[in-house]
Subunit: 405 residues, 2 copies
Amino acid sequence: MINIAILGYGTVGSGVYRVFSTNHEVVESRLGERIHVKYVLDLRDFPGDPVTEVLVHDFQIILDDPEVSIVAEVMGGTGAAYTFTKKALEAGKSVCTSNKALVAEHGRELMKIAKEKGVSYLFEASCGGGIPIIRAINDSFTADVIDEVAGILNGTTNYMLYRMGEDGSSFDEALKEAQAMGYAEADPTADVEGHDACRKIAILSTLAYGKYIDYRDVPTEGITKITIEDMKYAEAAGARIKLLGLSRDTAEGTTAIVAPFLVDKSESLYNVNDVFNGIYVHGNMLGDAMFYGSGAGMLPTASAVSADIVDAALHLSKTIRTNWTDEAAHMVDPGEACWKFFVRTKAAAQEMAEGLFPGGSVIRIPECPDETAFITPLMRQRDFDAAISKLGEDAVSVIRVYQRA
Amino acid sequence: MINIAILGYGTVGSGVYRVFSTNHEVVESRLGERIHVKYVLDLRDFPGDPVTEVLVHDFQIILDDPEVSIVAEVMGGTGAAYTFTKKALEAGKSVCTSNKALVAEHGRELMKIAKEKGVSYLFEASCGGGIPIIRAINDSFTADVIDEVAGILNGTTNYMLYRMGEDGSSFDEALKEAQAMGYAEADPTADVEGHDACRKIAILSTLAYGKYIDYRDVPTEGITKITIEDMKYAEAAGARIKLLGLSRDTAEGTTAIVAPFLVDKSESLYNVNDVFNGIYVHGNMLGDAMFYGSGAGMLPTASAVSADIVDAALHLSKTIRTNWTDEAAHMVDPGEACWKFFVRTKAAAQEMAEGLFPGGSVIRIPECPDETAFITPLMRQRDFDAAISKLGEDAVSVIRVYQRA
């Protein structure tokens, strides 16, 4: 029997508890041993919930119990979660988490401690909910040089953008709807400003390229400026607007960005809608691969945390090999990155825009008769910025266009 | 340094050779050791090809060399491939393969020998080309009860069906095109009759449910009867016709089938087109997950074989845990399986058809004014067969409709 503790009985924590109570037989058949949830840590009480039997309010009890070999940190945040994770690893317990903020912020230190102590710090659930993308990168694409990762990594914003595109909802309406559905939090900043996706693409890219990418080095734009008119233009161009976490690795260095992109209908990511997540990976031998699945929600994320727990249980007193590294990536200057841009300008600026962005392909929609809109050829971010600044107030909207490397 | 041998220098074999010559640095950085292709076995000579340096014509040389710890069997077939695999495993060498026919035919015996000898028999590349579906099932969905696997598992037929639907090509035209593109073999029977997909769904289902599914117990229909008119109807119904390998596991037992299905545009599999493969998996905690990627071709398949080789190298002298089992699945009588059916009948039989299949939703296309076509409600295969037989020659076409469990 392997004893585990769950830190936090919120959405994910109660999901993990449910996974091991519902699926204990199948887990035991695969692992050859039973997994027993010995403790659940939460400051709250849950009268009438069976969890009461194993509920504790003091982390020290878990830390001091040598029978607990694996801890699931599903509290979130970078405060107590950090302290508890560090202490657990130092005490020789493996830690499995869904906490992308903590992995992005303190992953380097925590991975190092895990290695020193001969245990594992696993975080499959930190990116893409139930989608087993991290294990695929670590264990399946081992013979490939991965050169691109492009992901719809945030279910909340994907839901909002999809509703805006399908129903013509405004940003505010879509946000309210997402909150009513329980997809968006009361303070949606981390989702709509792209902070959540930023941490995820930093983690995925670190593993994909085997070079450490600091999330603070990833230029990040959210979706708050996207309007219904942008959606109409995207539709006219045969595309959808998606918030992508995107990175590429070449001999020149690593490029990473989080921003809204026009995604053409020929791309597999185009069809990743609603609250789903999708992650596209390109390898020099593998070619195109895409993973799709429930990106959020109690059970898919809990499924991924629980799979990490089983993995840790199969490798007790061992550090599971991953591609994680401390060696910093050489980041390409964001001004040097090349993109196609979708640009909307006021009609008065048409001639100037054509001069500044020669060779653009024009898009017209009946809803905006007084505008000139076009997609530029591939151009350097720096050159684009210089040109667009000349348009001043006449530039209505700018969105990058996704194109595979 | 870890020495390997590649059996067969055909499409996949030369791909594996290329993976380790092109990506040797990144493989070494992940594995901590170099992988050296010591031998390539092929009866042919390849004058001018660098492979000549390591080419041998006699398997015994490889078998007798204790330095060779891993063998890639990429010859295909169930003759020499079987003998060589068995001997290699018995000699304590791990074997990695793309050979679904061999795994489906002799997997039980070969897995047993591997276990006895403390080595591994790995076959990620046998299903879905470069898509890491087998490792995901074995290592990532460990905390889930998987209850459905539905896959577009054959790139050749998916390409053909897509061309028929998009261009209005006939079956014969699409086949010729697939052969010209190098996707279909001179004798396309294994692809178009569904035999290839049958072996793949048997392998995937065995791992997904942890119960042995014999491919001979999987009812298999190919795509040879699909016409352009069927395609038009599918389009009118908002669907595409796809050859699915489909299995479900419930308390009543396991259902498995290979057949063409109408797949609605709301399904993620609808967008798996061209030569791509897509595999949908449903878990009781995970929810929906879908894997998409290049299903065929030299490099994607070679990428998967090579990843297995790296895995075997990381676990030398150890049997890597999988969900494989010898315990036979309890198969549900195919007559008891429930499906919706798309049915086309001659107009003269309209009244009779309406009586036999009450509650069907009618589909009309201008190309077939003299037909009655409809989708039945969910019904048992046995009941459907009894009803359709009464229509005799008036039944023009029958295709199942995919619906998630």
